[in-house]
């Protein structure tokens, strides 16, 4: 390293680089998050295998269709019963789409944890001392969660096909894009929420407790595992404001059902507003709270 002269020249270079891009640093930070995932074969493997195991266990072991495979119930009646409850003749297909929401919820929770760790380990402090846009810090977490959950969902969907997911009558390959768009919006909104909870926290224990408190209620008050039509009234009310209900329904509309365009429009609108509101609050609060 050549002394002085080199340094002076370097300073000149530096002066030109004052970035005015509000999302400057977003790419680098997102890439850092993803590197921790794809460069670690075990982490990658587990994050993919876990939902597959759940799917196999939930979908195949909780074989609700099996209840009706009873000589006393005529086959046609059984199918009709299943169809009127789940909208599809087999529970596995119903549940497999719900599993995409599982993946999204769990990946989103992870993004909240990682900001707590970044704060504790001092990485956040270091990033805050650089000219990185404050909003980019939060968005790098949101986007890496989105990318991870899309990749994981894609794999889960593929495995579901192999295990016998039955596509609906109005399915076209284009619908897959729709499914990913739905998951994108759902993950964006959910990870914003978990990040908002974590944004000022310094204790990962607290964050862990919050996450544990929220994850199952969030899933069970939605239609991810069971249709809302068989829920008691109070639960159905809750499920109506749960974004997972809309995400899962949109997924089923696109993959399993005879697509109901107006219902699908409602789902997309709800999720779009959900994602927009919480990510906007996220940007706002990260300006306010990241640096106390």
């Amino acid at each position: 390293m050549e002394p002085k002269e080199d340094h002076q020249e370097g300073e000149g270079v530096m002066q030109n680089q004052v970035s005015t891009n509000p999302l400057h640093g977003l790419g680098a930070l997102t890439h850092r998050e993803l590197k921790k995932w794809y460069k670690e074969p075990i982490v990658l493997f587990i994050s993919v295998v876990q939902p597959v195991i759940w799917m196999a266990l939930f979908g195949k072991a909780m074989n609700i269709g099996g209840i009706f495979q009873n000589p006393a119930v005529p086959r046609a009646v059984a199918e009709e019963l299943m169809k009127s409850t789940f909208g599809t003749p087999d529970y596995f297909s119903f549940m497999a789409v719900g599993m995409l929401s599982f993946v999204t919820v769990f990946t989103s929770m992870f993004s909240g944890m990682s900001i707590v760790w970044d704060r504790r380990l001092g990485f956040l402090g270091k990033v805050l001392s650089t000219p990185v846009a404050r909003g980019a810090i939060l968005f790098s977490k949101i986007f890496s969660a989105v990318i991870r959950s899309l990749v994981q969902s894609g794999i889960v969907l593929l495995v579901a096909f192999l295990l016998g997911l039955r596509l609906g009558p109005s399915f076209t390959p284009l619908n897959l894009l729709g499914v990913f768009a739905v998951l994108f919006l759902m993950c964006m909104g959910l990870s914003s929420i978990f990040l908002l909870i974590a944004i000022r926290s310094t204790r990962w224990e607290t964050q862990m407790a919050v996450v544990n408190l929220l994850n199952l209620p969030l899933l069970f008050t939605s239609n991810a595992l069971f249709p809302t039509s068989i829920m008691p009234e109070w639960l159905r009310m809750i499920s109506k404001i749960n974004p997972i209900t809309y995400g899962t329904d949109a997924g089923r509309q696109l993959l399993l059902y005879q697509t109901n365009a107006s219902q699908l429009a409602v789902d997309f609108t709800f999720l779009g507003i959900f994602a927009a509101i919480f990510s906007t609050i996220g940007i706002f609060l990260s300006w306010k709270y990241l640096s106390k």
Binding site: M1, V13, Q17, K39, K126, P131, S291, K292
Partner: protein, 334 residues
């Protein structure tokens, strides 16, 4: 003042409404000097640095770094400073090289430039051989050197170092000191550092501010601080047992106090090196011989004791700062 690269006036930080971490401190740092904040755990050193590097906002008061306001022009400040935090902040899952490049990206430095600089910096801190190893395999000294390299990627005008040698062994500490001196001498960089090691402040800093309970209790060059304490101690023995030379010595202007015990004199003087020959000369002129003389310089330890009323060892700090320090020490020794 135009030459002051850092200027703080009444800087104050209160956490959660009642924890006064930094209490109305004012100081300025000149371009090209090594300025040290010396104080025990929990004194408010990290909090001060965090305000200056725009990571937290002051509750009261203001400061400029490189002429820019730390709150209103935070972006300008961030582009001109480098930070070596108290914690080891490099990402353990990435390699040393990837960490430096990441830092470059955070500053928005084009890749071609940051790659070239990364190679130079790795050479500077002697990590080239380990650049493709994951940081989790690094020793404490290597991690600290990597942090240093990361902090230099944007060629900062001021480098902030928070307890740069915390937990390191003596040899590694000396190596870090050499890098710090190099930055000042070769690159005319201004360095703002904190430490709770007295020897470190003494060996490195051009000027030191002693901070205790969030307040600056004393500020100045280490030598001056020691001199202000009342100067050096000369211990003297003369041959002839019962002659009285005390009043003779007291006549010398730079002598402040003379105490006699048997035929040993304890003399408090202002400038030990200059005064000692004068004392010997005065005694010789009366025909007596000096058999023994020793000169003790006060250490920063005593300065510290004088102004804070406690020794550096009575440390305490809040949960966060103790927790983070312990981890830093643990990693340093890994």
């Amino acid at each position: 003042m135009r030459d002051d690269i850092i200027n703080a006036v009444g800087l104050t930080k209160v956490f959660n409404g009642d924890v006064v971490a930094v209490d109305h401190i004012s100081f300025s740092v000149r371009e090209g000097e090594i300025f040290g904040f010396l104080g025990p755990n929990g004194a408010g050193k990290t909090t001060t640095i965090n305000m200056l590097i725009t990571v937290i906002k002051p509750t009261e008061g203001h400061a400029t770094v490189c002429g820019y306001d730390i709150v209103k022009q935070a972006g300008e400040v961030r582009n001109r400073i480098g930070v070596v935090p108290q914690e080891y902040t490099a990402d353990e899952d990435l390699t040393g090289y990837e960490n430096i490049i990441l830092c470059g990206d955070l500053y928005g430095i084009p890749r071609e430039v940051s790659k070239k600089r990364a190679a130079e910096l790795l050479e500077l801190v002697e990590l080239t051989k380990f650049k493709d190893k994951k940081v989790e395999t690094y020793s404490g000294g290597m991690r600290r050197r990597l942090e240093l390299a990361c902090g230099l990627i944007n060629r900062p005008r001021v480098l902030f170092l928070d307890e740069p040698t915390l937990g390191l062994d003596v040899q590694t500490r000396a190596a870090i000191w050499d890098y710090i001196r190099l930055l000042k001498e070769e690159f005319n960089m201004t360095l703002f550092m904190t430490t709770h090691y007295l020897e470190e402040a003494d060996a490195l800093c051009d000027r030191v501010a002693i901070i205790d309970n969030g307040k600056i209790v004393k500020m100045g060059p280490p030598d001056e601080l020691k001199r202000d304490l009342g100067g050096d101690i000369i211990t003297l023995e003369i041959q002839a047992g019962d002659v009285e030379v005390a009043n003779l010595i007291e006549e010398i202007p730079s002598v402040k106090e003379v105490k006699k015990q048997d035929n040993t004199y304890r003399i408090k003087v202002e400038d030990g090196e200059k005064t000692a020959p004068m004392i010997i000369e005065a005694i010789r002129n009366k025909g007596y011989a000096v058999t023994r003389l020793s000169l003790t310089k006060p250490t920063l330890d005593e300065v510290y004791l004088e102004y804070t009323g406690k020794s550096m060892r009575d440390e305490q700090g809040g949960r966060m700062s103790v927790w983070s320090q312990r981890r830093t020490i643990r990693k340093a020794r890994a």
